[in-house]
């Protein structure tokens, strides 16, 4: 097999990707099927059987109120995946038009829009998310909308960079000269290419959002108790850390594992979608260049 044909053939997906995808799919499916597959009611307490280790009846043990940890994690997945979906939707809905407009009309409007995004990015993500959640009120939707708002300027800047690079290409100029209406030009010809790095970045933000969502729930700004949530349950377990230190493992490992899986998918996406180098010259760590 010569080098050219090897370059043309797409590399087989690494096994790590398949593990990550499988884990996430299983978790998502279990969250969706929670009412049928969770062994217990996640809110049902048994104060006579609290803070127990794994048994055949409770595979991951019971928490400080005697609730089944496994059932709470399965149900908590609904809030976790749902919350991340809300957050990414807000970030994309706000950030992509923001960056597109700034990139396509960069002179005045774009400058103003980017200065606004600079100001927002200057604040630490979690601090700003906590402040916005505090103003909007605690809860899954409000906290995730807050994180989405905080991530939107990052999406906007990335989108703008992509649009700026693509808008100067010959094919865009040709389309313009042939009289294609600018919004159509933007949507049909510019965005599909300009958004490639945004898609890759979104996987990173997805992983980050799981972490931030867990942190906000840990701080009591996510779903209200006793609603199951991974971060809230981690907080409950942490409050018992001196008496039962192993309690933090199930929610902690789950949260960490999900983030690793998302990042693994992001890595593969980056490898597949990034680089304007010839395929034969690509390495795993190529940066995104459109």
């Amino acid at each position: 097999m010569n080098g050219q044909s090897a370059g043309r053939r797409r590399r087989a997906a690494p096994w790590g990707l398949w593990i990550a995808v499988t884990v996430l799919v299983l978790l998502l499916a279990s969250a969706l099927l929670a009412p049928w597959i969770a062994p217990y009611d996640p809110l049902a307490q048994n104060l006579q059987n609290k803070v127990q280790g794994p048994t055949s009846e409770h595979l991951l043990g019971t928490d400080r109120f005697g609730r089944d940890v496994l059932s709470r994690l399965i149900w908590g997945g609904r809030n976790a995946f749902g919350g991340v979906a809300i957050c990414i939707a807000v970030a994309v809905t706000l950030g992509v038009p923001w960056g597109t407009v700034a990139g396509f009309w960069p002179r005045y409007l774009g400058t103003v829009l980017m200065r606004v995004s600079d100001i927002m990015i200057a604040f630490p993500l979690l601090v700003l998310a906590v402040a916005i959640t505090g103003a909007l009120g605690s809860g899954l939707v409000t906290s995730m909308v807050a994180v989405g708002l905080v991530l939107a300027p990052n999406i906007a800047q990335l989108t703008r960079a992509g649009v700026l690079a693509v808008r100067e290409n010959d094919f865009v100029e040709s389309a313009r000269l042939s009289g294609v209406w600018e919004p159509i030009l933007l949507v049909r010809h510019v965005l599909p290419i300009a958004l490639r790095p945004v898609v890759i970045q979104l996987t990173i933000f997805t992983g980050l959002t799981f972490v931030v969502q867990g942190a906000l729930a840990f701080l009591g700004l996510g779903p209200q108790r006793p609603t199951p949530s991974w971060g809230g349950d981690l907080n409950d377990a942490y409050s018992q850390i001196l008496a039962a230190p192993l309690q933090i493992l199930p929610p902690g490992l789950l949260l960490g594992g999900v983030v690793l899986c998302v990042y693994r998918i992001g890595d593969t996406l980056r490898d597949r979608m990034s680089s304007n180098l010839a395929r034969t010259e690509r390495t795993e760590n190529d940066v995104v260049v459109v």
Partner: protein, 512 residues
């Protein structure tokens, strides 16, 4: 036995972060070896130190060291003894209280502490409207050493009231000069002065050399440096690592985690109580039977055990805990856990299929956790309620002012001033009475207590007041909150410093 790992990386990191300021404090101390510095930790955060400012309870220990009391209330028993006042007596059928004051005392800013200054200080306090004296007609200073209170109704609880925050005399001159800053720059006549206050972080007191004994003992150490540490692993590390000599209001896990470490740990049932406050001005809880159904549906023992890490299983159905002179054993069985009785009462009230209530809880973990357990217990009898966690200001506004909720998971400190606590529960105009709805028999019960001319009469009257509380349930008591204190071998007066209200008597503490 559950496995324990004290040296978890998370614990160590949390401890390291939390102890960094302590390490600095120790370094400062070592530069002057002639000074004795007691290093303490506490789990709650004071916000100010004016006895007439907004209280959150955690400032009491410091105020009790900064301010000399008009009448001293023994921290461990609640008994009254002379403070700035050496003697007091009632006349005019308990409507006039005359106090004889020590002479020659001064505040820490040099202001003379005589009857006129005491009068001004108390009047300033009353003007701030965080406290009041029921039926007060006048306060008068007669000469240098006589202070007279006249009330329109009998007021046997007045000495106890003057033995609490109201009687912590602040320099009227300093309070006038400093205005709103006074809470952060307090001036009293006690054995300690506030040296530094970093909100949410640390408090330093230094002994006042010119203190003249007025109820409180002289300072036994030159300096007290206190750090606010709420993380249990950091609390454990500070005490076992020698960075703190004494700690109070510690996490409930401390008694088990400090076992075998050589640190003395004491936990007691104090007069702090968790409870549900009820809005009787609107919604289903206007009906007494539903309130009683709630009370029967709650398994207080299980609730106490679950939320105190097993330190207590004593449910509360009256303000004072077992062992206190104002606790009445014969009233203990009133609301034994009885779900069937709860369902029966709901049925009688016209809710055979149950009902839904709106709950809010203060966002401190103990109150949130109470809400979690209670909502599950109430669900068993068909009452649906979820408690929304909010900070104190928002929860209070939404519950007491906006009437957005039927009940609130909160707590109160019953001591040692009985008049304040019974007024709060039973009177119509009380700030704790959402909607200011009269409690049938409440005012009368308080009147009888206020007219009591002996301890026996007072106890009988307060027992009747407890019966009114149990019948009408303006609040639903839950359990007495244990208090946890701990100290090292180098500390003297540890046991004496454990106060009924869960605070520490810092003036009792010394170093070997």
């Amino acid at each position: 036995m559950k496995p324990r790992h004290r040296h978890l990386r998370t614990s160590a990191f949390a401890a390291l972060v939390a102890l960094a300021p302590l390490a600095t404090a120790c370094g400062t101390d070592s530069t002057d070896e002639s000074q004795t510095t007691l290093r303490t930790i506490q789990g709650l955060t004071p916000s100010q130190f004016d006895p007439c400012g907004s209280p959150n309870g955690s400032e009491t220990a410091y105020m009790a060291a900064i301010y000399a009391p008009l009448i001293r209330t023994a921290p461990d028993t609640g008994e009254l003894s002379p403070g700035i006042a050496t003697d007091w007596e009632f006349s005019n059928e308990l409507q006039t209280l005359t106090l004889t004051l020590q002479t020659g005392l001064r505040f820490q800013d040099g202001t003379t502490l005589d009857a006129e200054a005491a009068k001004r200080s108390i009047e300033q306090c009353l003007d701030m409207e965080t406290q009041r004296i029921p039926g007060l007609e006048s306060i008068s200073a007669e000469g240098e050493d006589t202070l007279v209170f006249d009330t329109s109704t009998p007021n046997s609880g007045l000495p106890a009231l003057l033995g609490s925050r109201l009687g912590m005399l602040a320099s009227p001159t300093a309070r006038e000069e400093r205005g709103e800053e006074f809470g952060a720059e307090p001036v009293g006549a006690g054995p300690f002065q506030l040296d530094e206050f970093v909100p949410g972080s640390s408090i330093s007191l230094t002994s006042w050399d010119e203190y003249q004994e007025a109820g409180l003992p002289e300072a036994k150490v030159d300096r007290i440096e206190s750090e606010i540490i709420s993380d249990p692993s950091a609390q454990e590390a500070a005490l076992t690592g020698g960075q703190a000599d004494f700690g109070w209001r510690l996490d409930y896990s401390m008694p088990s985690s400090l076992e075998g470490t050589g640190i003395h740990v004491e936990h007691n049932l104090g007069v702090s109580m968790s409870d549900l406050n009820i809005d009787r001005s609107q919604g289903p809880l206007q009906d007494k039977k539903i309130r009683q159904a709630l009370s029967y549906a709650i398994d207080r023992e299980a609730l106490a055990q679950a939320n105190t890490s097993g330190l207590s299983d004593v449910g509360a159905v009256q303000p004072y805990p077992p062992g206190h002179r104002l606790h009445f054993d014969e009233l203990d069985d009133t609301y034994e856990h009885d779900p069937d009785k709860a369902r029966e009462l709901l049925d009688e009230a016209g809710h055979p299929d149950g009902l839904t209530l709106r709950g809010v809880s203060l966002d401190a973990p103990s109150f949130v956790n109470n809400g979690v357990v209670i909502s599950e217990q109430l669900a068993e009898v068909g009452i649906e309620v979820d408690f929304e966690a909010k900070d104190v200001a928002e929860a209070s506004k939404d519950f007491y002012v906006n009437h957005e909720y039927d009940l609130i998971s909160t707590g109160m400190n019953s001591g040692p001033d009985w008049l304040s606590i019974y007024r709060r529960i039973l009177t119509t105009e009380s700030s704790g009475n959402s909607g200011n709805v009269p409690v049938p028999g409440g005012e009368e019960a308080l009147e009888r207590a206020s007219s009591a001319s002996s301890d026996a009469e007072l106890e009988e009257a307060l027992k009747e007041a407890d019966e009114v509380i149990q019948e009408e349930l303006p609040i639903i008591p839950l359990y007495y909150s244990p208090t946890v204190s701990a100290w090292g071998d180098n500390v003297t007066g540890g046991e004496e410093s454990v106060a009924l209200n869960g605070e520490a008597d810092l003036t009792a503490l010394g170093l070997r």
